[in-house]
Symmetry: C2
Subunit: 158 residues, 2 copies
DNA sequence: TCGAGGGAATGAATGATATTCTTTAACTAT
DNA sequence: ATAGTTAAAGAATATCATTCATTCCCTCGA
């Protein structure tokens, strides 16, 4: 048996509830799991301490903020490109995610901009002009069928 | 002047606070914006009603749930492929996002699995066997430099 | 088998918070 | 002006967060 704490059924249920709506009173979570609020509070604290819970976010509608167009850009770079290129890419207009990809000497960006005109401008003026960038391949998202950060909690194993 | 409600500076500040940590007492938000809690509550309610706030999420560490490997898969399909293919793709093991992409007759998937072995199994057994799928191109994420759902609130315009 | 120790749940107490309602103020359009 | 609209403040009360002491249960070691 491992000394390391595990995620038991109650933790599991708490995480499920928070995945549905994280901004919910602690007392309501306690009601749903059938325990005292103090016990639930302690469990949530521990999940935060153990970095199983990493934060709480709000999901906003991108349209009022003129970020209705989503695009993915695969940026291929010189193998000797500058070390801080990744950081520079995070600062490009509209960039939400920067992932370093294996086997490509490159980065995959997810970005949100207003429209195609702005996307073109960002690609030409901001990304392609960075030192070390060789080429970009862009996929414009027509329609998002699913977009979630939820994990499959049932995949837990101690 | 537009009758439609706008997002003013106070709404803006409230959204900023919630983007940092959505699970925060309303009274604390009120303190930070310098207003009565009742007024802040009313504003948040309205932002929810107007669908500017679409939900509140918890960000979990993927490792305890055996989803430490992230990959993007561009799925190319027959132009006459079945209409519900997108829905089927959302049900594939580990798939977090499904985006329909323009100009490709295809979908871009983001998925989280345990390791390369599982990724191979999912690609071979689940994705490629779907009717209409022609080919897949997979990018394995080595390292994520930035991953956020935060929007640039300053891009608001009425 | 027994008891010590650790970990976790409960329940009570209290101080803080959410929520509702009323009043007031500012702004709009007629 | 004046009625209508919108939002903020303030008060009141119901609910909640947080702490603490206590109890319970499990595990380990003698």
């Amino acid at each position: 048996m491992d000394i390391k704490r595990t995620i038991d059924d109650i933790d599991h249920k708490i995480l499920q509830i928070l995945q549905e709506k994280s901004r919910i009173p602690n007392a309501e979570v306690a009601r749903q799991v059938g325990m005292a609020p103090s016990a639930v509070l302690e469990r949530i604290r521990k999940l935060e301490d153990r970095q199983i819970i990493q934060g709480y976010e709000v999901r906003l509608n991108p349209h009022p903020f003129n970020q209705g167009l989503m695009a993915f850009v695969l940026v291929t770079v010189q193998s000797a490109s500058r070390a801080d290129l990744a950081t520079l890419l995070t600062q490009v207009t509209g960039v939400q995610d920067v992932h370093q990809v294996a086997g490509e000497d490159g980065y995959l960006l997810k970005l949100r901009v207003a429209d195609n005109a702005e996307l073109g401008r960002v690609l030409a003026d901001e990304i392609c002009s960075l030192a070390g960038v060789l080429q970009t391949k862009t996929n414009i998202v027509l329609n998002t069928i699913k977009e979630t950060r939820k994990l499959d909690l049932n995949r837990y194993s101690s």
